[in-house]
Structures are given as structure tokens and as C-alpha cells.
């Protein structure tokens, strides 16, 4: 009964209802879509941070982070393997690396950069390099002379695949080690700085270059999903105990990201509230209009013995319809927009330097977070009901006489 009456009442004035519905739809659409874009941005930043050789967790020699030299390497790899196999949950992957600062040069150019020895097949799903090679080929596990360099470095060095790159570094004996590598592949990364600052060779040839028999500089771990890393790192540290090795999560490795994440939720919800408030005024006003137009009707109903609470309920049900319908359409529209942009992402390359300064990807891909969708709908519907209480109470309070006298 209520439901039917309320539904009919809403459409008594279709134009008015449509207008306020549009306000709600645009509001909800913007919450869902812009929310997804902003989440996408943050998610991109985190993913960038994690896939740019960080991983969810890293294990280093405890002195390495402060002083990243080859002397601070992890030598007991067997023990490390044993601990990792024992502790890591299902779906987790890990890869070993050697990282050294080197000077790379060719006939015309020279630059200081980081040389990373990797286990190529294991990097898939851990860091961008697992799938980042866009030209040429991947490294083979036993690759002796092949090197993979970034597109930006390739351009800066005016070189190409098949050309050589001379790498010079300091080995464990404190002597200068130099070796000529052949560019076999080119990688792209989200950030130009990554492309300029990292070159990759096989772990095997890195060991040989720096004369590190069996040691490694870091282990990067990727879990099946983000969220478990704190717990896993704790377990790892418990097991690693006195070995002088230390596991740290990306939150510790990239503290800026953590800080950003911490205040992001707050900002997001403030924005929701602002948009809601903007449409809230419209909701109240429209409902008030509808109520005042029907004053006589309400008076009559009351005179016929209808309880005020029924009228209250009736008006609130109308608002609820309006809000739910608006929220529903807004969600649908929001998801359509999100889905459409998610196909290709939004290209930010026109503002590349700016995007890079924010740590953003070149393309922005929206990400829908259930929490946000819930929050947006909750806010619109529940707060919408709260503000509709004002006209509803007004309607319930009309005395029959007052109402009949009106107009």
C-alpha cells in the first residue's frame, strides 16, 4: 500500500522528480567514477612503488638499506630459501637479486645507474621487469652477456638492440670489474626515471661480475594479495632471528606511500560529503515543495483519522524511492564510465613530468573499491533519509484545520 502510494506520488510531478533525480544521479555518478579514478591513481602509485623492484616484502642484510654496498650481501642463501619455503603462504612468489651501483658507458655516453642481476623467469608477477620487455627478448636464466635496458636510457645513449654497453663496478675484492654486455631487450616502465636508472642482467652473470660466489643483495617477495604483508614479514623476521637478515614491507620501504594512503580515505569521504551536501539541499527543497503542495491532502487524510506516523512514513518512503532510484542509476552510470575508461585507461602522457613527480603511472586506470561504493551509497541514501526527515515531520505535523485553511 505505502509502497504503491509513494511510487505514484513521486511521479505526480515527473518533471520535478526528474530534475532532482538528475542531481542525485550526477552526484552518485561522480562519487563512483571520480572515486574510482582517485583510487586508481593511488593504486597506481602503490603498484608502481611495489613493482618498481620493491615487492610486498623485501629481505636484506640488516646493514644494506643504510649502506647498500656489495659487502652488505646475504651469503647464506640456503638457509634463506629454507625459511622462505617454510613461512611464505600459498600463492606467494619470491625472486633473488643482486643490486650494485655501476657506471654504464658506450662510445658517446656514460651514466651512473643501478645494475640488477635477476632470475628472469621468477620476476614475473613480482616486478615490472618480468613482463616489461617490449622489444627484443627476455633474459635467459643462464644469460652471460645479455643486458636489458630501459627505453629512456636507450634513447639517451643513442643506442639500440644488438649494441653493447660497458658496465663498470666494484667487486667484492674491492677491485674494478668491467664487462661489456650486449643489449638484447628493451623495457618500458611506468616512470621514466625507472627506465633511466635500472639495467638488468642475469643473476648468474651479476654474481660473476662482482665475484659474489653465492650471495645476493635482496629477496623481493610478492604475496597473492596485498594486505597480508605485515603478518608475513613478522613471521619471516621471527624465523630469520639472529641471521642478521631483515624483512621489511613496502610500507617501511616507501614511507611516503604509507603516509599518502593514511590520509587518502579521509579526503575521499570529505569529498563525498561535499557532493552530498550540494545535492542534500536540493533533496530537502524538492521534498518540501512536494509536501506543501499536498498540504490539503495530508490535512484531509488526518481528518479521516490517519496517524501522523503514517504520513511520516509515507513521505519518507517517497524520499527513499527517489534516493534509491537515483543512487541506482548513478551507480550504473558510474560503473559504465569506470568500465569504459578501464579498457584503455586515461592517458596522462601529455602531463608526463607532472605525473611522474606525483609518482603516477603514464596511464590512469580507475579502480573500484567496494568500501567506497558502499560509502557513497550509504551516504546518499542514509543521509538523504536523514535530511528528508525535516519535510516529512513537517507533513506529519499539519493539523487538519491548518491544512484545509491553506491556499
Amino acid at each position: 500500500m505505502f509502497v504503491q502510494m509513494a511510487w505514484r506520488n513521486i511521479w505526480r510531478n515527473p518533471r520535478r522528480t526528474t530534475v532532482i533525480l538528475i542531481a542525485v544521479v550526477i552526484g552518485v555518478w561522480s562519487m563512483i567514477f571520480l572515486g574510482a579514478l582517485m583510487r586508481g591513481m593511488v593504486d597506481g602509485m602503490i603498484k608502481n612503488g611495489i613493482s618498481t623492484l620493491t615487492g610486498h616484502i623485501q629481505i636484506h642484510h640488516e646493514g644494506y638499506r643504510k649502506d647498500p654496498v656489495i659487502d652488505n650481501s646475504m651469503l647464506d642463501v640456503d638457509k634463506l630459501d629454507a625459511v622462505l619455503t617454510e613461512v611464505l603462504p600459498e600463492g606467494a612468489k619470491y625472486a633473488k637479486r643482486i643490486r650494485v651501483n655501476t657506471i654504464a658507458s658506450n662510445a658517446r655516453h656514460s651514466a651512473g645507474l643501478t645494475l640488477v642481476g635477476i632470475e628472469p623467469e621468477k620476476e614475473k608477477g613480482i616486478s615490472f621487469i618480468g613482463e616489461g620487455v617490449v622489444e627484443g627478448r627476455l633474459l635467459k636464466p643462464d644469460e652471460k652477456r645479455g643486458i636489458i635496458i630501459g627505453k629512456a636510457l636507450l634513447d639517451k645513449f643513442e643506442t639500440k638492440i644488438g649494441r653493447k654497453l660497458l658496465i663498470m663496478t666494484q667487486d667484492t675484492q674491492n677491485e674494478i670489474a668491467s664487462k661489456s654486455f650486449k643489449i638484447v631487450g628493451v623495457f618500458r616502465a611506468e616512470m621514466e626515471a625507472t627506465e633511466k636508472n635500472f639495467v638488468f642482467i642475469s643473476l648468474k652473470s651479476a654474481k660473476k661480475l662482482v665475484k659474489l660466489n653465492d650471495g645476493i643483495s635482496e629477496v623481493s617477495i610478492s604475496l597473492a594479495e596485498r594486505g597480508m604483508e605485515g603478518e608475513v614479514a613478522e613471521k619471516l623476521n621471527a624465523q630469520l632471528g639472529s641471521t642478521g637478515l631483515k624483512a621489511e614491507t613496502w610500507k617501511e620501504l616507501i614511507p611516503m606511500l604509507r603516509a599518502y594512503l593514511e590520509i587518502f580515505d579521509g579526503f575521499m569521504y570529505i569529498w563525498y560529503l561535499v557532493v552530498f551536501t550540494a545535492m542534500g539541499f536540493g533533496i530537502v527543497n524538492t521534498t518540501l515543495m512536494a509536501v506543501f503542495e499536498r498540504m490539503r491532502e495530508f490535512g484531509l487524510l488526518k481528518a479521516l483519522g490517519m496517524k501522523p506516523s503514517w504520513i511520516l512514513r509515507g513521505v519518507l518512503t517517497e524520499s527513499l524511492f527517489l534516493l534509491v532510484l537515483g543512487a541506482f542509476l548513478g551507480n550504473v552510470l558510474g560503473f559504465i564510465f569506470t568500465y569504459a575508461t578501464a579498457q584503455t585507461g586515461i592517458d596522462l602522457s601529455a602531463l608526463a613530468a607532472g605525473a611522474e613527480a606525483w609518482g603516477l603511472s603514464r596511464t590512469l586506470i580507475p579502480v573500484v573499491v567496494l568500501k567506497d561504493v558502499f560509502m557513497a551509497n550509504f551516504m546518499v541514501v542514509v543521509l538523504g533519509m536523514v535530511v528528508s526527515a525535516y519535510p516529512a515531520v513537517k507533513a506529519a505535523r499539519f493539523t487538519p484545520v491548518e491544512a484545509m485553511m491553506m491556499n
Binding site: R15, R16, V19, I20, I22, A23, I26, G27, S30, L34, K66, D67, P255, M256, R258, A259, Y260, E262, I263, G266, W271, V274, V275, T277, A278, M279, G280, F281, G282, I283, V284, N285, T286, L288, M289, L348, L351, A352, A353, G354, A355, E356, A357, W358
Partner: protein, 412 residues
Amino acid sequence: MPIDITMAWRNIWRNPRRTLLTVAAIGFASTALVFMLSFQFGVYDTMINSSVNIHAGHLQIQAKGYKEKMAMRYAVADPVRMGNLLNGIDDVKSYTYRAEGFSMLSSSDRTYGVLVTGIDPDKEKQVSTIKSLVRKGEYLSSSNAYEALVGSLLAANLKVGIGDEITILGQAKDGSVAASVVTVKGIFTSGIDEFDRSTVQIPLKTFQEVYSMDGAVHRVVVVCKSLKSVSMVKAALAEDISGIDEKYELKVFDWMEIMPGLLQSIQMDLISGFIMYIILVIVVAFSILNTFLMAVFERTREFGVLMAIGAEPGRIMKLLLIESITMTSIGIFLGMALGSVFSLYFQKHGIDFTGASEIMNQMGISGLMYPKLTLLSLFTGPMAVLFITSVAALYPALKVKSLRPVEAISYN
């Protein structure tokens, strides 16, 4: 005309509740926009100022070619003359001289190639925040002591602490060997790894002695009284130095030329901000569109009567527009007032970002953010609201044109 305004004013207050709600919606949006834009501008200012303060300055005078090649010989030969010019420009707050040379830095254990910077300790502290970033030890004591401020990461890499000696070995401006031993006087942390890993600062006179600079410097770094005055000072300075006959032509660069990425990231943030604001304004427009529409439909009969007694549709339209613009204007005015009050309050007291402040504090920057109310932030948002609500008001007003008196009177 006056009668129209009186009529419009009366009409507005025929339904005070509705009017108040509409005005409140507009006022709210305007308040929000003024505050958010002021906040954004404030943060940009902080961003620019802190990068300006850590190192870059608002303006730099360099010899032509130095920015690209960083070769020692592209130097400003007579910095004192620059100083005198700068003293004569009103909007210059402070300035300092710096000289730089890529050199080998060694402790007893390690050797690294880094950029050694010579700074004037007294002038530098008026220009950059370096003094406040010293976490261990002290700031440089005099302009000719053989001591150094070392970035914390570099100090860790070199394995040196306060009082330890480091050897500097590089090439002097005249091509000779520049060598010196300096004592670590202070260790600073800026929070910018790149800076903390690659910076060592020694007193300018010491630098000039060691690197045979013959009194020359590489950068004259200028801080202006405000960001606004930068372009003015730049123009004045460019004119002043154009006549100076030095071996290398002198050039003035502003912070945007020194740090192009900073400008781009601000532009990017502005764009994303504007998208959000436009959506907000559209939501508001639809929220209040009903009020305007109702004003027409409720009064269809009234308009019919008015038309029947000879009022032209155009006049009624004008009446309606005056009504909606009056409402909008009141809302905007209130919004601007409230927005300014909020902005000014926080401009004075700052907004604390608890989540981030811990990390920012580690970097030596307070976690407080300050909005900055400017004419631009005050007017941009409200004007957008005015524009879009006017468009919204146009729709019902145009409806009046199609009204026919007879139908209108019988409308119910």
C-alpha cells in the same frame, strides 16, 4: 525597471523557506569552492616555497651555458656587483652566492664522486632551510673555515661522523687540481634522498680558495618577498644585468625554469581539481533547478493574468531572471564571505594532517598546511556557480515564452 526589482524581491520572499534553502545550497557550494581553491593555492605555495627554500630559490643568476654543461668555467665573475644590484630591488627578500664543483670525496674508508657546493653561511641561512635541517653537529661557523655540512645518506655512505675528516679532490676553475681536507661540522637530513645522498656544502671562501675561483661563483640565488613579485624582479634583474660585460653572458632563471616538473605537477593537480569542482557545481545547479522551475509552474496562472493584462513574455522572463540571479547572488555573496572566513582562519592557524605530519616532521617540514586566500581563489569558484546557475535559470525563464494567456489562466 525598479518596479521589476521590487516585484522580484517580493516574489523571492513569498516562499522564504524555499528561498533560504536555495540560497544555502549556492552559499554552501561557493564556500566549499572558495575554501578548497584557497587550500590548493596555499599548498602550491608551500610546495614551491619549500623547494625554493631547500635549494633552488625563486630566481638564479648564472652564466650562460652553466645550466646545461655545469662546467666550472661558466661562472659569475663579480657576485658582489650582483649583490649590489639586488640590494637596489625592493621586492628582493634575500640572496646568496653559491659555487659548485664535481669532486671526489673520500673518508678513510670510502670514496664517492659528488657535487661540492660552496655556500656563504650568513647569507645562505636567509635563503635556504639548510641550517634548520642540520640534525647532528652544527651549522658552518664562518665563511672561511675548513669544515663541511654533509647530507645524512652521504655521511652514512662515507662512514663519517661529526669531527671526522674528509678529503676533497676535484678540478679547480683554472684546470688545476683542487684539493682540501675539511672537518665534518654538521650532518643534515632534508628527507629528499637524492639531496641527502649527493650534497656536501663547505664555506664559500674556502671553496673559492680551494677551487681557484678568484672570487667568482656559479649561482646567485635570490628569494623574493613573495611569489607574486618573482616575475617583476626577474624583469628588473634581466634589465640590470643586460648591460654588464662579463666574460660569459649572464642569465636570470626563475623557479619554473629551474624546476620545470614542479610547474607541471601543479598544473596537473589544478586540472584534476577543476574537474571535481565542475561536477560539484553541476550537482548544485540541478539541486536548485527545481526551485527555479517551481517558481514558474506555481505561478503559471499569475503569469497568465499578467500577460492577459498586457505584460509581454519578455518582461516576465526578465522578472524571473532577476529573481534567480538575486537568489544566486545572495548565496554567492554569503559563500564568499564564509569561505574567506574559513580560509583566513586556517591561513592563520594551519590545518594539521595527522597522518602525514609524522613523516613530514622527519623531513623537517611541519605537517601543517596553510590555505591562501587570493582574489583568484575567492572569485573563480563563485563565478563558476553564478554562470552555471544562470544557465539553469534560463530554462524555466524560456518556458514562459511559450505560455499562452488563456491556457495559463486555466492551468492548475
